[in-house]
Amino acid sequence: MGFLHGRSQRWVGALLLTAAMYNGQAQGAPITSVATSGCLQGTFIQLVEANRQWTKDQWAALFDDFEKLRIRSVVLQWSVIDNEAFYASRRFKASANPVVDWIMALAQDRQIDVMVGLSHQSNHWTRITQANERQAYLKEQIERVAVTAGELTPVVTKYQSFKGWYISEEIDDQNWVGDDQNDAMQSYLFQTTTLLRGLTPKAVLGVSAFANKTTTPGDLGMFWHHMLAKVKGLDIIYFQDGIGVHKLTLELLPDYYAAMHKALSTHKRELRPVVELFEQTSGDPVATGEFKAVPATLERVQKQLQVASKYGVQRIAFSVPEYLSMQTTPDAATAFKAYRAYMEQNKLACR
């Protein structure tokens, strides 16, 4: 199950290392390598219920944080969750504030690209694991995507910040490996990308993926090799590194990146590593209970970035708002300050 799904919004815990420690570690590293590998070029924004109440000023402050982190790409995880939209929707329950509009406008003013997410259902992970539900779910989901994209196209394409669409499903390596499942997902992605291409011919299309340790890198690469051969409309695959949710380890990660990179290169698609900025503390698979996480140590994030930089030009964080900004929790604020100090200290030139 993907880490982006159902993440608790209770941001607790503390950043373990201080800025001074970061600086001390960074001093020994060559500036050039740090300058290229230590950057986060993008972040996800996962809209949750609380975001409905955010004022435009709050969003502006968050985007100011993005600017300070030199973020140049935002992936909006979704614009509709279940029956609730974050824009003025006719079909879904519309939000009071035009959240998507604000994000697009703020991004435009700061020359940040936005990949606009579409529709998500909170029972996604339950339904795709049920054989008798999967097909019906995907059929229903693509209808939702059609409605969402149809409604959003005139909203988002008026902004220059609109880069493309992010398909909100996260493709894992276990639920779609059988022939029928694989066909179903291929058909879903084929239909979705064709529709989106029809609506917005110039838009970039992306989807995210993740892996479990139980799948070998070779099998993962082959899975995506076949998928991309059939689904020609996908431009970007956001590969979640799984470090924060303990799906992969830093030792294993390079092999998985390499496998994905090879598969994507063969088909001329772009790999964008997704760097998890958090450390999961409860919830499956770490423990029972709800998902909880704290900001990861900068040391760990640095390692993730170093690995990721070998396979992707743009590294996307999951996610700055919750774990690396001044706008949400004290822990995230501490992490933000530390990362900023690290950037200053090492003269990171991320743009």
Binding site: D109, A146, G150, K158, Q160, G198
Partner: protein
């Protein structure tokens, strides 16, 4: 600051750019001709920022403010404007737009800044806002050229190209338009005209552009316009001229590319080759153009040149498909070694099934050419494993045969291990192996396998597959056609037409999903309007209306290019899809739009339906009334009349509703129609209240119990009881299961005064109720406690439902069905199982059952269960109480109908009594409140026939009354009073009795006299409520008597009680209560009038009942403390006991 120009801020381009150098991209442009493809970077006509446009002479709108107010307003507005420009300068345009907006709220008259604001909004792509602002400008000045220009640009941005062009073209000749505006308009119009293939307009717009005839961009557009007009020579000449003025490599390449497509379109392969070579001279390493050149050489059958070009591609950049193409060329050139290498690579890398097959076959041929027969056999075997086609089998057989022959030669030469080899080769055919061993047959050794396919090019193989597909279609063998087309796609015929052919074949096979995918493939290759339509309609077929709607929406910009019929059909289809999604407003919108292409009755009908569903009933009536019903077939006429009837009923026009019901009945003169009309007339008291039409329905369908029943109800309400009873009996005869009718028949007979028949039918109804209760209480297999869990497990609801309906108690069944219906509300099957109807029947006895039958099962669930479990339980309990009360009421009816004799006895005791005759009888007990007494006995006789007539009662009676000695229950003999008399209850529903009786003296203080009386009782909750634990009880009793001729006394007694009754086993009731009572007498020489209030408790026991009759007898004890409000009367306790037999 206000006059600061907006110049150079925005730099938007009015012309779309088409700069791709990717031939594949260019290839996709072919559908639009060369026009767009030849438009290059538009330096000459590229729009400057609109700030450079000259301002109109009037830079302010006229305003009635005086100078001072105007200055104040400008002063207030200035900060907004200042900030707006600052934001513009820092690139924060959305914030700038906010500032402009605030500025115009204060200072709306500043035209100059509004143009700047338009510019900002346009840059922000807020086109609706641009339109609004442009409208403001044109409202002030209809000829405002800049506003018109922006309106055109917005239309262009919204992809309404035709409208945009039509808006911009008039600007070219508009006198008041400044030169810059005209230039931008002309430049944009050129592109729009080219995009919409209006090449004459393109030429016209080009001629309006100033002095740029020798500029590159102008020439490119000129060339495109000529090409669009089919003037190829002129076009080529202009492009050649463009080549001479092109300044950059990119521009030159673009001209070459355009010429290349022109040559290609005209079938001039050698000319196309020349252009590609020229391009490659500029970009020698461009992979796509190298491929294109190789393919052109191949098409011109110069395979050596093709191979040479392919060899120019560096090994590191050679893709799988390149290797495949080169391998085929190498095989053709018999360069087996290199061919083998390329094929091996392709077979390893490709994921396409057909390419893999072809690569393995090629590998086999290459090995064969290299005389590596075993390797060839391995390759052919692998190919066979990928695809079972004759070519592979044939090649495999040939190479296997060669191997055998080779082994045979070895055997003949006495090789050391020949037996093993032969067995290995042909182990499943030892006989044949032996025969071979002894054969003298000889096959030329080491002949390379050169099957027929070897000499075929990939293109030929494609063509073969395609031909096989078309042949299969002509044989109406769609499965074979699909297979052939898939082969063709695998062999490189990945074309729009192949996918469309496949899609149509899938459609004929009704394999909608596959058809949709094929249409999508075609669409992804060429998104022309027709392919969008195909996809939209394929999504209609797969039941995905939202997707269908999106693709229909994609067709909208191109609607003007479709035929009128097609445009209309699309809008109508969209309407149905919106209606399916219950978006009736949108359905109304598109159906109305479709009317622009001609009005047809079917669409009007649909529009009427959508309007009704959108709750626009009046509009719906308006639309439907426009329909000429005579032009409709019978089915549609019926639909129209029924809908109009419903609409008029909803809008309160019963007469018109009735009118259309009659029309519907005339169209379809069926019994059901007349029945419906009759019901409607009955409900609205129209005509003869439905009698005629109900009668007609029954005449047409005499066997229909419902019609008979309904007509019976009509007669019953008309007090024509004989007819009603006859029809009810007929209905029961036709349908004995209409249990509610037995009771109504009994009441009908009761109303007729036929007590004997009434009792008979009441008893039958009572029997049915008892049986229903017995069934309801029967033990079933068990409560389906697990159905919720099964539901969670994803088991289909229908499956669980039948288990529930089969196994549960009635309340559980209904509850279970309710839960399941909530789980999947669209599944009407929930209400189908017999068990469910039994359960509803078990629970809904009497009138609730009638309602159930009226509303139908879904409504029964909603009506009886509500939306949640607690409410459901409450409703079920209520239904049960209703059933119990109904049964009890019928048993009471039988009791009253059968009553002949009754005996009542009472005795009261009051502490601290000052008078002997102080207590009154229990109110309503036997009506003796007017005569003060402490005890009494009464015998009543109710004669048959006149004794009970539909609630009217006549009785004769004899009674004795007495008082007791002080502080004793002993009868004071001197007080005993006797009487005989008769009483009559004239009203069916009101407990009012009038009586006359002769009082005769028994004790010394009694009297001989006449008494005329009227007594009235109103009670609520006085009777038992079976199975209810408690209820409210209110009671009022009044008794007015006149003694004559001797006494001349008039007396009035009245009592009120309010209490709560508690029920124990439906036999004992206990009613704590408060009370007030009073007696007034005139004349009253003894001052015996009094008033008192108090509280007490009444305990009543009912007994002497049987199956059909409610309790005939009761015993009651009332204990009260009464506080006197009169000075001459003491307060104290009063106890009263009463028995009734």
């Amino acid at each position: 600051m206000k006059n600061k120009p907006v110049v150079q801020l925005l730099g938007y381009r009015a012309y779309p750019r088409a700069q791709s150098s990717d031939p594949a991209v260019w290839g996709r442009c072919a559908a639009l001709g060369l026009a767009l493809a030849t438009i290059g970077p538009n330096a000459a006509a590229d729009t400057q920022a609109l700030g450079s446009l000259t301002l109109p002479l009037k830079s302010r709108m006229q305003n009635s403010d005086n100078w001072l107010l105007s200055q104040l307003r400008q002063f207030r507005a200035y900060p907004y404007l200042d900030r707006a420009y600052k934001r513009v300068n820092t690139g924060k345009l959305s914030e700038a737009a906010d500032e402009f907006k605030a500025y115009f709220e204060v200072e709306p008259d500043d035209i100059f800044s509004r143009v700047a604001y338009l510019n900002v909004l346009y840059k922000l792509q807020r086109y609706d806002d641009v339109s609004r602002q442009a409208d403001i400008l044109t409202a002030f000045d209809p000829d405002n050229a800049q506003a018109r220009l922006f309106q055109g640009l917005v239309l262009q941005a919204k992809n309404k190209q035709v409208a945009a062009l039509d808006t911009l073209l008039p600007l070219l000749g508009q006198a008041n338009a400044d030169a810059k505006t005209r230039e931008v308009a002309a430049a944009t119009a050129v592109d729009l005209a080219l995009a919409t293939r209006r090449y004459d307009d393109a030429q016209k717009a080009l001629s309006a552009l100033p002095q740029r005839r020798q500029e590159y961009a102008h020439l490119m557009r000129q060339g495109a316009a000529f090409a669009g007009q089919g003037k190829w020579t002129e076009s080529a000449a202009v492009y050649e001229q463009a080549l001479t003025v092109a300044r950059t490599t990119q521009e030159k390449r673009l001209v070459r590319e355009t010429l290349f497509y022109q040559e290609k379109q005209n079938g001039n392969i050698s000319g196309a080759i020349d252009q590609v070579k020229a391009i490659l001279d500029m970009e020698p390493a461009n992979l796509e153009w190298l491929r294109t050149l190789a393919m052109l050489h191949y098409l011109s059958e110069d395979r050596g040149a093709a191979l040479a070009v392919m060899d120019r591609i560096p090994a590191g950049r050679l893709q799988t498909q390149d290797a495949f193409f080169r391998a085929n060329l190498l095989l053709d050139k018999r360069d087996y070694t290199r061919a083998r290498q390329d094929y091996a690579r392709v077979a390893e890398e490709t994921t396409e099934r057909d390419m893999k097959f072809r690569a393995l076959m090629g590998l086999g041929y290459a090995y064969s050419g290299l005389e590596q027969t075993k390797d060839a056999r391995d390759a052919f075997e692998r190919a066979s494993a990928v695809q079972q086609v004759p070519e592979a089998s044939k090649a495999l057989a040939t190479v296997t045969k060669m191997l055998k022959m080779a082994t045979f030669d070895t055997l003949k030469r006495g090789g050391p291990s020949h037996d093993v080899q032969i067995t290995d080769l042909d182990s499943d055919q030892p006989v044949r192996a032996r025969r071979l061993r002894s054969s003298q047959a000889s096959v030329p050794k080491k002949t390379p396998v050169r099957p027929v396919a070897l000499s075929k090019s990939p293109l030929q193989l494609q063509q073969e597959s395609l031909q096989q597909g078309y042949d299969a279609i002509s044989r109406q063998n769609d499965e074979a056609a699909i297979q052939a087309f898939e082969d063709a796609v695998g062999r490189g015929a990945d074309t729009v037409q192949t996918h469309l052919d496949m899609a149509f074949a899938y459609n004929r096979l009704k394999n909608w999903d596959r058809a949709r995918d094929s249409f999508l493939h075609a669409f992804s290759l060429d998104s022309n309007p027709q392919n969008r339509l195909y996809v939209a309609r394929s999504y209609v077929a797969t039941g995905q209306p939202d997707l269908a709607l999106q693709y229909f929406q994609l067709v909208q910009p191109d609607l003007p290019y479709l035929s009128q019929d097609e445009q209309k059909a699309i809008l109508i289809e969209m309407g149905y899809l919106y209606a399916k999604k219950e978006d009736f407003e949108m359905a109304v919108s598109v159906w109305k739009a479709s009317m622009a292409y001609g009005v047809d009755t079917l669409t009007l009908l649909s529009l009427g339906y959508a309007l009704e569903m959108a709750k626009r009933d009046i509009d719906a009536v308006g639309v439907l009334e426009k329909i000429d019903a005579t032009a409709l077939d019978q089915t549609k006429q019926l639909r129209l009349f029924n809908q109009l009837s419903q609409l008029y009923e909803k809008t309160g026009n019963a007469a018109q509703a009735h009118n259309y019901m009659l029309k519907a009945a005339a169209v379809e003169p069926a019994a059901i129609k007349y029945y419906q009309v009759g019901l409607y007339e009955q409900k609205h008291h129209i005509s003869d209240n439905g009698a005629g039409n109900l009668q007609k329905a029954l005449e047409m369908d005499p066997e229909n119990a419902i019609y008979a029943e309904q007509l019976g109800y009509h007669f019953k309400s008309n007090k024509e009881y004989h007819k009603a009873a006859s029809l009810f009996e007929r209905a029961i005869e036709k349908n004995p299961n209409r249990h509610g009718l037995y009771q109504d028949l009994a009441y009908t007979y009761k109303q007729m005064g036929d007590n004997e028949q009434a009792v008979k039918w009441f008893k039958r109804s009572i029997d049915i109720k008892y049986e229903e209760q017995r069934v309801a209480g029967r033990s079933r297999k068990g409560v389906p406690a697990d159905y919720q869990a099964r539901l969670s497990d994803g088991e289909p609801t229908t499956q669980i439902l039948y288990a529930v309906a089969d196994s549960a108690r009635p309340a559980d069944v209904v509850e279970g069905v309710h839960d399941l219906s909530m789980a999947s509300p669209d599944n009407a099957d929930h209400f189908a199982p017999v068990g469910y109807h039994e359960a509803v029947s078990d629970l809904s006895l009497g009138h609730p059952m009638q309602e159930a039958m009226t509303f139908g099962p879904t409504q029964v669930v909603q009506a009886t269960l509500g939306e949640d479990a607690a409410k459901a339980q409450e409703d079920i309990t209520s239904i049960k109480h209703g059933q119990d009360e109904e049964l009890y009421r019928m048993r009471q009816e039988v009791r009253e109908l059968n009553r002949r004799f009754q005996f009542n006895l009472y005795q009261a005791y009051r502490s601290k009594s000052q008078q002997q005759n102080v207590a009154s009888t229990p109110p309503g007990f036997f009506n003796s409140g007017a005569i003060p007494s402490q005890g009494g006995a009464e015998l009543i006789y109710q004669p048959p026939g006149i004794g009970y007539q539909d609630g009217k009662i006549f009785q004769v009676f004899a009674r004795g009354l007495w008082s007791n000695k002080p502080d004793s229950l002993r009868i004071a003999d001197e007080s005993v009073q006797g009487s005989v008399g008769a009483r009559y209850k004239p009203f069916k529903t009101q407990d009012l009795f009038v009586s006359i009786e002769r009082l005769f003296k028994i004790g010394s203080q009694a009297q001989n006299d006449w008494l005329a009386r009227a007594s009235y009782a109103w009670t609520q909750g006085y009777d038992i409520r079976p199975n209810e634990s408690s209820w409210n009880q209110t009671l009022f009793y009044g008794d007015l008597g006149y003694f004559f001729p001797n006494s001349g006394i008039t007396a009035l007694y009245s009592e009120v009680r309010q209490g709560r009754t508690f029920n124990y086993a439906n036999q004992f009731t206990v009613t704590p209560h408060v009370m007030a009572a009073g007696r007034v007498q005139r004349p009253d020489p003894d001052k015996s009038s009094y008033a008192e209030v108090g509280a007490g408790i009444a305990v009543k026991y009912r007994f002497n009942e049987n199956r059909y009759e409610a309790e005939r007898s009761s015993a009651e004890v009332v204990l009260q403390y009464r506080h006197s409000l009169s000075e001459r009367r003491n307060s104290g306790w009063v106890a009263t006991a009463a028995i009734s037999f």
